[in-house]
Subunit: 212 residues, 2 copies
């Protein structure tokens, strides 16, 4: 099997992203949800992230990689991202789920474009949006309707999520050149411009969907 | 369908026990596990608890009960139990998973004995021990072998878990007489003696299995 050199890195960062997102969403659900029904709804999304982690870990093992070793270079950056973007309330938690994960997912999807089709298919499978948008979007829009002053505060929060994601992403890219190369392979600078245009467009679309 | 009056209470307390155990085990895994592999192993158990929560919530809905309403009388006691038994390290977390959940499960199983067989079957299904013992028992025994002084400390910890469980259990029983009646229906005082004998025996067996 000829794998791109960054493939273990990509599956490793994605696996730890899912494992840590599962833990953080579980905590946000337990500590911030305004009702037991909301707590269950966010927990449901968290458990889906865990199921994705399981798929990625098993695939790493199939490739002959040690899953823990493949994840470990990314623990610092992802933990730092979560520590710096700890939601203060329920609406911030939902915006983080929708906007924050959205940006990360766009990155992983771009990286997967250049991979062996079976890996690209797995990455697409774990990145599919199972109703995450519907749940978070409805609750956030209702929250803004109930308290219009929340919109400005949440827009700032979303900007902070993006800033922190880019900053951690840059550090990961400079530490893991094989992974960074997956994002630009083939077309160099042109591809980087296209990448940023794609990410910005997707982010603006999500903000508009939230009413922010 | 003729249901015992305590059945919604029983499914409600069990549902919230699973939902809160899932959140606490997820947190313990993320903060206390000594390796990513151990973190994944405890997370796997946590996600299983969530799957049980889902079954119980759906069954409550089928019975025409509002799941959140059925759970809410038990949130205080179960949250208090978790707050008073927050593990300080990885071995305490594993002992809590094995011993603490074990006691709770014995209680629920006893209560289910007197129920409609289809409910009793569901309760048995969600209480089945899917390898929980194997994982926790192996790690705790290895921990004691590596550091024999840990045994005394963990035995004290297990005693505290039982004490807190009994204290919260008594409060729940006096606040929810229909639920308490499930435990003694038919035979009154004789049944209570038998219940305590059963619980004590099961607990001692678990302690011996752990080497405590």
């Amino acid at each position: 099997m000829t794998e791109s050199p960054g493939v273990v890195d990509l599956l490793g960062v994605l696996a730890y992203a899912e494992l840590s997102a599962y833990a953080r969403m579980t905590e946000d659900a337990a500590t911030l949800a305004p009702s037991l029904a909301d707590r269950a709804a966010l927990s449901e999304l968290a458990v889906t992230e865990y199921a994705h982690f399981r798929l990625l870990r098993d695939r790493l093992a199939e490739l002959g990689a040690d899953p823990a070793e493949a994840m470990s270079p990314f623990v610092g950056a992802l933990d730092a991202w979560h520590a710096q973007t700890k939601p203060a309330d329920w609406l911030q938690a939902l915006v983080k789920t929708y906007v924050g994960d959205g940006i990360a997912l766009d990155f992983y999807r771009e990286a997967a474009r250049h991979l062996d089709p079976s890996i690209a298919k797995l990455v697409d499978e774990v990145l599919v949006d199972e109703g995450r948008s519907q749940f978070a979007v409805e609750r956030v829009r209702a929250g803004i309707e109930a308290s219009p002053a929340a919109a400005g505060r949440l827009a700032l929060w979303a900007r902070r999520l993006v800033g922190e994601a880019l900053s951690q992403g840059q550090q990961v890219a400079s530490a893991r050149p094989d992974l960074a190369l997956l994002l630009v392979s083939g077309e160099g600078a042109t591809d980087i411009s296209r990448l940023f245009a794609t990410l910005t467009e997707a982010h603006n679309k999500r903000m508009a969907t939230l009413g922010l």
